[in-house]
Symmetry: C2
Subunit: 222 residues, 2 copies
DNA sequence: TGTCGCTTTACAGAAATCTGTAAGGATATA
DNA sequence: TATATCCTTACAGATTTCTGTAAAGCGACA
């Protein structure tokens, strides 16, 4: 089993709870905690320099901001920076977030090894997840393995995301067309943009642009 | 100090943490917990029938749904139902939510006695809040007392909210006008609706309807 | 070379949005 | 009663959205 683990979680009460589980249930001897991303990063770097690196990072995604100025404010940035030092570190994200698309993104873009939703069975799921990751498995949370929710997803390419973002920012299609042209992104005719957006209307069953943006915001894609 | 408290929180690890704080730091002798709103309600009703009522409810807002079918799925419904039995019960909401408008709504519409944001100083804030509520005070969280964020709020009336909701659902202003007329809500001319929405554009610095809905969704007002 | 299929683009028209101005109605005050 | 103010409504015009059709561009392949 893992012998040295770092827990990054700003929510004090949960923080203590996780450590208790790691210590008592999983039986990990060396556990360190951090309430800020920057703290976590520094602890990690020091351990790595001292040739006693952590084997696993368990991190939340959102860290509330307070008086302390932080260079890193989200778990994603923490993962990115830590992977730059030690590419093969195992990472488990442990968050409130339960929207499939967001979680998928973490596996796709950041190659995390496991994900656990905060919730009723958090203790069991967390210990399962740690076991699996230790055996080199990729541990998806229930929301992704559950076929009833996993299949009805809409696949969006980069341009789709750009269009949704720009529309949500209130730009007209003419303005978006010019932006795309400046950035040499094709297709960039107003007609193609219309077509793309119309397809999004179909995909998300939206009546118009406003409705589309509202739906996509609710799904957490924006 | 309170002698009998009910904690409703589905997130297992936090649940245990809160109870530990109540027991060790605050020193409350009788603490019961519930992971489901329905459970909480039943425990509460039984205690009330047995003439040994709870004096304080500490509850989360969002409860993840799972296989169990629940009649109540959010803390708000729980508060409403419990207040119907025992109107003077003290209620502290303890949630992730940190958007001023949402929290304000809880104080205005549901007369909660205190609010604590899950976060770094949760333990201290929670004990403070319990002390204050015991002294019959209304305990606002930092996000509401902090003048830097409290003042720049936009006040929305019922019609504003209706318009925002309908626009987010993709209805045209003509359709909205007809709906308002059916429900005998005035003003309901397309011109007045235009004016109202234009004012919202100004208030939220939105370029158009789509932008407006995106902003309002981000603020958590919809 | 030709043609099939796909994507991109051009264009056009009906509908909706957004922004003005101006008129009508209600209320309060002198 | 007269006047001022505020809210509601009507209307108009420029712009944008949305939905079609049709043409042009391009790679695959016989």
């Amino acid at each position: 089993m893992f012998t040295k683990v770092l827990v990054a979680e700003d929510y004090e009460i949960a923080n203590q709870g996780i450590i208790k589980v790691l210590k008592d249930t999983v039986g990990i001897p060396q556990i360190e905690e951090a309430k800020y991303c920057d703290d976590a990063y520094l602890k990690f770097r020091k351990a790595h320099q001292d040739m006693a690196p952590f084997e696993l990072l368990i991190t939340d995604l959102s860290f509330k901001e307070d008086h302390k100025v932080q260079t890193r404010t989200s778990g994603i940035e923490l993962i990115r920076d830590i992977r730059n030092i030690q590419a093969d570190i195992k990472v488990i994200v442990y968050s409130q977030e339960d929207r499939p698309d967001k979680i998928n993104m973490l596996f796709d873009k950041y190659n995390i090894n496991g994900y656990v939703c905060k919730g009723q069975d958090a203790i069991k799921e967390l210990t399962n997840c740690i076991d699996g990751v230790y055996q080199e498995k990729t541990m998806l949370p229930k929301v992704l393995t559950d076929s009833s929710t996993a299949n009805q997803m809409v696949l969006l390419d980069d341009l789709d995301m750009i269009l949704l973002e720009e529309l949500a920012k209130g730009f007209t299609k003419k303005e978006i067309r010019l932006k795309l042209k400046e950035q040499k992104i094709t297709p960039n005719s107003e007609s193609s943009i219309d077509k793309k957006v119309s397809k999004l209307f179909d995909d998300f069953k939206a009546k118009n642009t406003t409705h589309l943006v509202a739906i996509v915001k609710d799904l957490g894609l924006l």
